[in-house]
């Protein structure tokens, strides 16, 4: 936190009394500013550290006011900048001219809580369907989501073979073989070159954030786990850690190591799934089948440890629900050795195969500057030479004690992003082996109280797709006041829009798959 200790005095010096610095009981700094004064704060922060990015923008219904929280990610952690707006006049200046990557975040706050952002280039509905009535904001406390009547929209957007001058509209989605989950991307194509991409997300929006407010913390662990099938443990760990921060609860060391192992198994599963899927997108079905055959090993291990091949349900507030037995440790180790040998083959394939390289190299290149401006996270950022990784920047669970390498590639194209994931698989195998060798003895769970005292916490973990961000606010009951989830793919989709423009339409799937889209995460 050393540079934050320099940052705060610098901001105070330049802006004086317009910012109020508060530290909560865990030492987390948050800055309270007047609405619109936040622009100066963010501008100074970005100037001080180029890796400053907006991690999430949360909006909270505070009863008579609306709070807008900008969670800014610096090289060392999260600093929250808080403002408050009145409900009648919920308007604030947009930060997209400082950080273009905030566009999706602001649109979501507009959609779900009704805060309008002055100066936003495209302030339209994002996650709610077209049949949702205007002016009804689901995350406000006075709205009961189940009783909202759907309306027929005044005009449906026509999707057809419209010609717009020379431009043909090619619609990818919502149902399309290239997409694992439904989202709509409208490409405007001239010949074979893409001129514009308009994403429409929200097809998998299930209102998880609202649902989380109606369930106890105990039940919410299972709810957030099901935001995404592939990174389910990451969601569970992130939520539980946030609640543990509010409770000031220390998790036993053995639980931390077991959680790390589960998280890394998740990462293995996810990266292998993606590398196989990338093969499928570019027509390389053999690679797809081989990779998914090897992924079965990881799923069998997850089944052995948690009772289910995909959704682990093994994390709880205060630790993990099951212990690892000695026999499990041996099985895992044997599988890891086999997996490592198989990864050699894939690494060589990705390096040598001519058709694969022809399809992924120099495709979808994202420059380092764009990566920083668009606030991308995860392998998408690391493929463009931005070295951010929550496991290294703000170690959680057992990552502070386990040595591993941070993988970056400089070329910024699809191939680089896929190679980052491939190398991360090898690192994950190493992390699991180290964790198994150094597993502490002792309890694997402590009892957590059901009623959580008033407070709030932010927490992030490194999901396979990037930084996963949670903000939990509690109000002294057994039900959370606000749960905000910002998933990595949500932050990465604007980057796809940027890289697809100007490229061949045939490159769109290869480009798209390299950012590892997970729409269940995006929409929640």
């Amino acid at each position: 936190m050393s540079s934050d200790q320099e940052l705060i005095p610098m901001l105070q010096a330049k802006l004086g009394g317009s910012i109020i610095v508060q530290a909560d009981k865990l030492g987390k700094i948050s800055l309270h500013v007047e609405a619109d004064a936040h622009l100066d704060v963010l501008r100074l922060m970005k100037a001080a550290d180029e890796k400053t990015a907006v991690s999430a923008i949360t909006s909270v219904d505070l009863g008579d006011k609306l709070g807008v929280l900008y969670h800014m990610r610096t090289s060392h952690g999260i600093i929250t900048v808080k403002t408050e707006l009145s409900k009648e006049n919920a308007e604030i200046a947009s930060i997209t001219n400082i950080l273009p990557g905030a566009s999706f975040h602001e649109r979501e706050v507009f959609d779900l809580l009704g805060v309008s952002f002055r100066g936003h280039p495209n302030l339209k509905r994002l996650v709610l369907p077209e049949t949702w009535p205007e002016g009804v904001y689901p995350l406000r406390k006075d709205v009961n989501a189940a009783s909202v009547q759907q309306v027929s929209p005044s005009e449906w957007s026509q999707t057809g073979n419209e010609e717009d001058g020379n431009l043909v509209k090619v619609v990818i989605g919502p149902q399309h073989p290239a997409l694992l989950e439904p989202e709509k991307f409208t490409l405007k194509v001239e010949g074979e070159t893409v001129c514009d991409v308009e994403p429409r997300i929200g097809y998998v929006h299930r209102g998880i954030e609202k649902a989380a407010e109606g369930r106890t913390y105990l039940q919410d662990v299972y709810l957030v786990e099901r935001i995404c099938g592939i990174c389910n443990s990451c969601h569970a760990v992130c939520f539980c850690e946030a609640v543990e921060k509010i409770l000031n609860l220390e998790v036993p060391p053995r639980a931390k190591y077991i959680r790390t192992i589960l998280l890394e198994l998740n990462r293995l599963h996810s990266h292998m799934l993606l590398l196989g899927h990338a093969g499928l997108e570019i027509g390389y079905e053999t690679l797809f089948q081989y990779m998914w055959r090897d992924r079965e090993t990881v799923m069998d291990l997850t089944e052995m440890l948690t009772g289910n091949r995909v959704i682990a349900s093994a994390i709880a507030v205060g630790g993990v629900r099951r212990d690892i037995r000695e026999s499990d440790v041996l099985t895992i180790k044997k599988s890891m050795v086999g997996l490592r040998a198989k990864m050699e083959f894939y690494k060589q394939l990705y390096h040598d195969d001519p058709t694969l390289k022809m399809r992924t190299q120099h495709v979808g290149t994202l420059s380092r500057k764009d990566a920083l401006d668009l606030c991308v996270v995860g392998p998408v950022a690391r493929g463009s030479d931005v070295d951010i990784d929550v496991r290294k920047d703000e170690p959680y669970e057992a990552y502070g004690e386990i040595p591993f390498k941070l993988i970056t590639y400089t070329s910024g194209d699809s191939w680089a992003r896929l190679m980052v994931r491939l190398d991360e698989i090898n690192e994950s195998i190493g992390i699991i082996e180290y964790a198994l060798d150094n597993l502490p003895v002792g309890a694997y769970r402590v009892r957590a109280p059901r009623i959580v005292p008033s407070g709030e916490a932010v927490n992030r973990v490194e999901a396979p797709r990037g930084e996963l961000f949670y903000y939990v606010k509690s109000n002294g009951t057994a039900y959370p006041e606000r749960v905000k989830v910002r998933t990595p793919t949500f932050a990465n989709i604007p980057a796809f829009v940027k890289t697809a423009v100007g490229e061949n339409v045939a490159d769109v799937p290869a480009n798209f798959v390299s950012l590892d889209p997970c729409f269940s995460c995006t929409d929640r």
């Binding site: 074979e192 093969g279 053999t286 690679l287 022809m358 045939a506 799937p509």
Partner: protein
């Protein structure tokens, strides 16, 4: 259809899977089952399509390829005896071109952006690759001094794959492109444009489109067999000449299909501009080169072969 089953089994085995299994012994009836199922499905014709071409193209394409089959010498002489004539090699190649063009038309007639893209890609691809295909097909013709398929087969005392192996390799690669198989299967790239020119088809017409494609693949393999592998020549052990000829033909056909499928499994799919540039930069010059070298070779080989 047998070849389709064989292809799918090989692809499955290479990919460590099982492939068709339940329909008939070892799944051999699977392609037939798929065909019959499609015949029974509802045939939906979107309102905006150019009705005549949309309805007629699939069956016509299939018919033309079947017609081209008549000229292939399967058991020493052609399927319809006496149908061969001088120049039927060129005729057969022209028929394939027409059939491919019909496939393009079927995509163009369905007014759907995916089909249009697919149709445009089909056209670009097969028009480009027709040239090297023709040049390479002429290589065996030069070696035997005749343009009749039957005569080319008859003169292969040594299979031409031994004499002009470079032409054989190039021909197989070019044939992959003509047949739209990996790495050249961009016209019906599933993950990008759904099903290319097949997108709007359903029911009976789709059944025939697929059958046309399968027949095309078999025909391509048969052409390779005839031109380079000596067609139906092979040792006769006992019984009728004609039976053994057919048997050897089928055997060689299956080997060619196996090789073709193996290549399909090995590579990813190239983009259309990469396909086109591969053609003009590599395949065409190489095919011209191989034609020139075959012509040079023919001076020595011709007397020996005749």
């Amino acid at each position: 259809m047998l070849c389709d089953w064989f292809e799918r089994k090989i692809e499955a085995r290479i990919q460590n899977r099982v492939g068709p299994k339940f329909t008939g012994p070892s799944g051999i009836l699977q392609p037939l089952a798929d065909f019959v199922k499609l015949l029974a499905k509802e045939d939906i014709v979107p309102v905006d399509t150019k009705q005549l071409i949309f309805n007629v193209a699939p069956v016509t394409a299939f018919t033309i390829i079947l017609f081209a089959f008549c000229f292939l010498p399967i058991d020493g002489s052609t399927v319809i005896p006496g149908a061969s004539f001088q120049g039927d090699l060129i005729f057969v190649m022209a028929l394939i071109t027409v059939a491919n063009f019909l496939l393009f038309l079927s995509g163009w007639a369905s007014v759907n952006p995916y089909s249009m893209l697919g149709a445009a890609r089909v056209l670009t691809q097969f028009l480009g690759y027709d040239l090297p295909l023709l040049f390479l097909a002429l290589c065996p013709a030069f070696l035997t001094g005749s343009l009749s398929l039957t005569e080319i087969v008859a003169h292969q005392t040594i299979p031409f794959v031994v004499l002009i192996p470079w032409a054989f390799v190039l021909f197989i690669i070019t044939m992959q492109a003509e047949l739209e198989k990996d790495p050249f299967d961009v016209p019906h790239a599933e993950s990008e444009i759904v099903a290319g020119y097949e997108t709007e088809y359903s029911g009976r017409k789709l059944a025939f489109l697929k059958l046309a494609r399968d027949t095309q693949i078999v025909f391509g393999a048969a052409l390779v067999t005839v031109l380079f592998l000596g067609g139906s020549s092979g040792p006769v052990f006992f019984g009728a000449n004609a039976v053994w000829g057919t048997l050897w033909f089928l055997l060689k056909l299956i080997v060619v299909i196996a090789i073709s499928e193996y290549i399909t499994c090995l590579f990813a799919r190239l983009r259309i501009d990469q396909v086109v540039s591969t053609n003009w930069r590599w395949i065409l010059p190489l095919s011209l080169l191989s034609l020139a070298s075959t012509m040079a070779l023919a001076f020595w080989v011709y007397p020996a072969v005749m």
